[in-house]
């Protein structure tokens, strides 16, 4: 087999050296009744020629966003990634290295992690960010668990229902058996978290309060609402972000009283890849860093220059197990690196310019919908949005999407896909724009709506 270097003759040499007659003798302590007597029921080995043909045919059955004008977002916003990023990611020293537990031979990975942490800290306006989390929803869970450790003995978490429904669903899964109650605060009729309702839900048992901005309807929320509600009762405030480009134009959570920011950083050039791998993030105030979950790279100045290593590890598998603050033992290494490379290329100016492109295209589309004059479509909520908004559809959402698809447009995400079976917001379509959408795509979108 091509991935096993030793030839059959060399394998025979090794067997002789080891002192056994056949390879099955090495499995002598396996009970015979479970040891397979014939090969597993799989096809014969495939060559690269066959793999390309077989799996290429599968790939061809999918609608690559590159073949459509895509307005799909709802928590995952595929932006442009510079060409060099995917090429450098293929360098074996990045692709095929392990977790940098041995810093002397992992300075490349460690420096990049430290840079990722720095980008996230700058964007969120907080002091410390970790090396990344699995993805946004589990990052929110970890933010709450971290807050639980910091507030001690409190039993309730409060979360606005304008947080992405899949984040809420994930939270319910993880918290099911930890003795923590989840209080979900409904949105106001304007689609934004109601400050009074949020404040009323917080009490002395509250661990933390989480809001998302832009929220699941694309609406900009004021972080200070969560911060004030939480801090009034000694709880912590968590800010969720899953469109990181918004932080180029919007006041960051750290400057508005948020204690822990978390969410999804896939916007920085990650391929959509049917929803994974992504790259979650978590950042917090300096005073909370000992409780930050996941990995953390630190920087040490030496006479020869800075060196980097994982540090403050209260969580990894080599820590005394009953004290582990989390069972996570991976970060999203390669994809955090991809985000870091993309951020480096974009830089301070590219970040803001990209964000302005996203915003301007969304505003153009919203204005066009306002001027349709058919009475069949409306922007659902009046508040400010960044690059996504909820479109209220008179005609059934599926029919609208179908008509758009005929015009080679993936028109948006039906709200019902985020929370199947909930029956909520069946007339809403979430429409997201990025720098990849052209004016002609936006005009074609509006033309299709006009046809209803």
């Amino acid at each position: 087999m091509r991935y096993i270097p030793n030839s059959p003759a060399e394998q025979a040499d090794l067997l002789r050296e080891v002192g056994v007659a056949s390879v099955d003798d090495l499995f002598a302590t396996v009970p015979r009744e479970v040891f397979r007597k014939s090969p597993p029921p799989l096809a014969p080995p495939m060559s690269e020629v066959e793999l390309r043909r077989d799996l290429g045919a599968l790939a061809a059955k999918n609608a690559a966003a590159t073949c459509y004008a895509s307005f799909l977002g709802a928590g995952l916003y595929p932006h442009h990634s510079p060409a060099f990023v995917s090429q450098l990611l293929l360098r074996g020293e990045f692709l095929t290295s392990y977790t940098p537990y041995q810093p002397e031979v992992s300075q490349g990975t460690l420096t990049a992690i430290w840079e990722f942490q720095s980008h996230v800290a700058l964007l969120t306006g907080l002091d410390v960010a970790n090396a990344s989390m699995y993805e946004g929803a589990s990052a929110l869970v970890e933010a709450f668990l971290m807050a639980e450790r910091l507030t001690k003995k409190r039993t309730r978490v409060v979360v606005s229902k304008t947080v992405h429904p899949e984040y809420l669903a994930t939270l319910r899964t993880y918290l099911a058996y930890l003795g923590l109650e989840i209080v979900e605060v409904p949105a106001g009729s304007d689609g934004v978290t109601n400050p009074a309702a949020l404040a009323a839900a917080v009490d002395d048992e509250t661990i933390a309060v989480a809001v998302q901005s832009p929220n699941v309807f694309g609406l900009v929320e004021d972080w200070s609402v969560a911060a004030e509600a939480a801090h009034a009762k000694g709880a912590l405030a968590i800010g969720v972000v899953n469109e990181m480009f918004s932080l180029a134009l919007l006041k960051p959570p750290g400057e508005a009283g948020i204690d822990i920011a978390c969410g999804e950083a896939a916007s920085f050039g990650l391929p959509a890849s049917f929803g994974g791998p992504l790259v979650g993030f978590l950042a917090c105030r300096d005073g909370f860093k000992r409780q930050i979950p996941g990995r953390l790279a630190g920087r040490l100045e030496t006479p020869d220059g800075p060196v980097f290593a994982l540090t403050l590890s209260t969580r990894e598998q080599h820590i005394r197990r009953e004290k582990a603050t989390s069972n996570i033992c991976t970060n999203q290494g390669l994809f955090a690196l991809a985000a870091t490379m993309t951020l480096t290329a974009l830089g301070k100016h590219g970040l803001r310019e990209t964000a302005l492109l996203c915003l301007s295209k969304s505003e153009y589309l919203k204005a066009g919908i306002g001027k349709l004059g058919t009475g069949k479509f409306a922007v659902a909520f009046p508040g400010a949005t960044f690059n996504e908004f909820a479109l209220r559809c008179g005609p059934p959402v599926e029919e609208v999407l179908s008509a758009l698809e005929k015009a080679q447009i993936l028109g948006g995400v039906p709200f019902t896909r985020l929370a199947p079976g909930s029956g909520e917001h069946e007339d809403l379509l979430l429409v997201a724009t990025t720098e990849r959408n052209r004016r002609e795509d936006l005009d074609r979108y509006l033309d299709v709506l006009k046809g209803f």
């Binding site: 090794l14 690559a64 840079e115 993805e135 791998p277």
Partner: protein, 510 residues
């Protein structure tokens, strides 16, 4: 790095100095006015963020990098040169299965039809993605014997958690959640942590002198208060639980579930179906057994296989056949729910299926050669390193530093010295029952001459430990940086403001 087998000079050489150039972060190298991308022109009226956002408007992300594409490429290329990798080095990290990462896997995962598909693409336009998941599920069922596989978990430990949550949900449904999970003292540290997050108290099972479980002891501890036993096969000592059938029988007799940590699946893939051993639930680390790249620490993927009894509790969504195609199915009323957004680390699944198809029915050769290579190293190294548990080894062998410690040389020193010989260190942080562990897993990817070179290096270090221990205890000598004082770093990191992204003063460059 030196060539294998050659003792390198402790003095820095020219290439080392060269590698250090540009070694600080890109933030230190940022220069005002530089740009790395050209964006498409604004083809619609420009929106005014200040008017739209008012007081919530942010005018700049202060401190962000300004760098050209050249700066970026050079920086990251130089960073890469400071990493060890499987592509260049044998990476004998026990329990991590650092095997070759075939590049066809990367190519297939990068096909636009996989990489550019948004997870909310309508079902009729994402049939290929759903079919890929269904095909991987079928392949893993063929290899494990389970009823179903979920692909929700993002990594192995996340799969452990999903498994523990399913076990809990099943017990709750049956009337009582139960209270304890039993975990052997040789287990991976994530096992007790995962059980804890499912609300269980963990009780430890001591290993026998052979390094395996004691069925008589288990029989005593396996009460109807015990929800599950989490085992690893072969365990972290590289030893197969010869009494596995007895173990699973005892657990089932008391209504418990057997959780198998699949981290060591590489030792028996294609040779044993875990379900045949009585295992009820098992996670697989696709980045171990199925060759998806470790990527400097992730992403992984931790699909979980379950027997029929746990199927109702699988996370949502599942992929189900519908007509001639497939659909996502959320209609599982007893499901534990979601483990994350979307449908798992799909890009990792693509790579894993590509790998499995590459081997097909011959995948058992992976386990055979992984076990053979480990036994070859065991044979060569046994005269020089102490073997606390001498039961037959499978895919890994766990020595310790007992012989070297007499001269003040510990496992960490051996590890650091190995770097000078061009090898990554073995695992040292567990198993906890082997103090000073040197846990070596060569995998099937290593050719005989690499195994020999590694063994020669280990033997040379054993000799150095005798003759010039300070050479070992002060290692590494020829890596991009010398031994890092991690305790000092932890103290520095604990200070206020230690993670400030932007340096106050530029770093001195030589």
């Amino acid at each position: 790095m030196s060539d294998h087998g050659h003792l390198a000079s402790p003095a820095p050489d020219a290439s080392r100095l060269d590698r250090r150039r540009g070694s600080s972060s890109i933030f230190d190298a940022s220069r005002p006015g530089r740009r790395g991308v050209l964006l498409p022109p604004l083809d619609v009226p420009g929106a005014d963020p200040e008017a739209l956002f008012g007081a919530l408007h942010r005018t700049e992300v202060a401190g962000e990098v300004e760098a050209s594409e050249v700066d970026a490429i050079r920086h990251f290329t130089r960073l890469s040169q400071k990493n060890m990798s499987i592509d260049a080095n044998l990476y004998p990290l026990g329990s991590c299965t650092m095997k070759h990462n075939p590049r066809i896997n990367e190519e297939i995962a990068r096909l636009a039809g996989f990489a550019e598909v948004h997870p909310y693409t309508p079902g009729h336009l994402s049939q290929g993605a759903l079919e890929l998941i269904a095909r991987l599920e079928a392949a893993l069922i063929a290899l494990t014997g389970f009823a179903r596989i979920t692909f929700q978990p993002s990594a192995g430990a996340n799969g452990e958690l999903a498994g523990c949550l399913m076990i809990r949900a099943a017990h709750v449904k049956a009337g009582a959640p139960r209270k304890y999970v039993l975990v052997p003292d040789s287990a991976h540290g994530t096992n007790p942590a995962s059980a804890h997050f499912a609300g269980y108290e963990v009780k430890e099972l001591p290993s026998t002198p052979r390094g395996t479980l004691d069925p008589a002891d288990l029989e005593k501890k396996m009460t109807d208060e015990v929800a599950a036993v989490m085992i690893t096969v072969p365990n972290t000592l590289g030893v197969f639980e010869e009494n596995i059938l007895e173990v699973t029988r005892i657990v089932h007799a008391k209504g418990g579930y057997v959780y198998l940590d699949g981290a060591n699946f590489n030792a028996f893939v294609g040779k044993i179906r875990p379900a045949d051993m009585g295992v009820d639930v098992m996670h697989m680390n696709l980045h171990k057994t199925f060759s998806t790249p470790h990527g400097g620490g992730g992403p992984g993927a931790g699909p979980v296989g379950v027997g029929a009894a746990l199927v109702p509790f699988l996370p949502v969504p599942t992929v189900e056949p519908e007509g001639t195609g497939f659909r996502l199915d959320f209609d599982h009323p007893d499901s534990i729910g979601r483990m994350r957004t979307f449908y798992g680390n799909f890009g990792v699944l693509v790579r894993a299926l590509t790998y499995i198809l590459s081997y097909g029915q011959e995948i058992g050769e992976v386990a055979e050669n992984a076990v053979l290579n480990a036994n070859y190293l065991r044979k060569k190294l046994a005269p020089f390193y102490h073997l606390k548990y001498d039961a037959p080894s499978y895919h890994e062998v766990v020595f310790d530093d007992k012989l070297q410690a007499a001269r003040g040389v510990h496992n960490i020193d051996v590890a650091k010295r190995l770097m000078d010989y061009g090898f990554h260190p073995p695992t040292m942080s567990f198993p906890l029952i082997v103090p000073g562990a040197l846990m070596i897993e060569p995998t099937e990817s290593e050719p005989i001459e690499e195994l020999d070179a590694f063994a020669d290096a280990m033997i040379a270090i054993a000799r150095e430990a005798e003759e010039s221990p300070e050479l070992v205890t002060s290692a590494p000598h020829v890596t991009p940086v010398g031994r890092i004082d991690e305790a000092l770093l932890a103290r520095e990191a604990s200070k206020a403001g230690s993670f400030a992204p932007v340096l106050r003063a530029p770093v001195r460059r030589s």
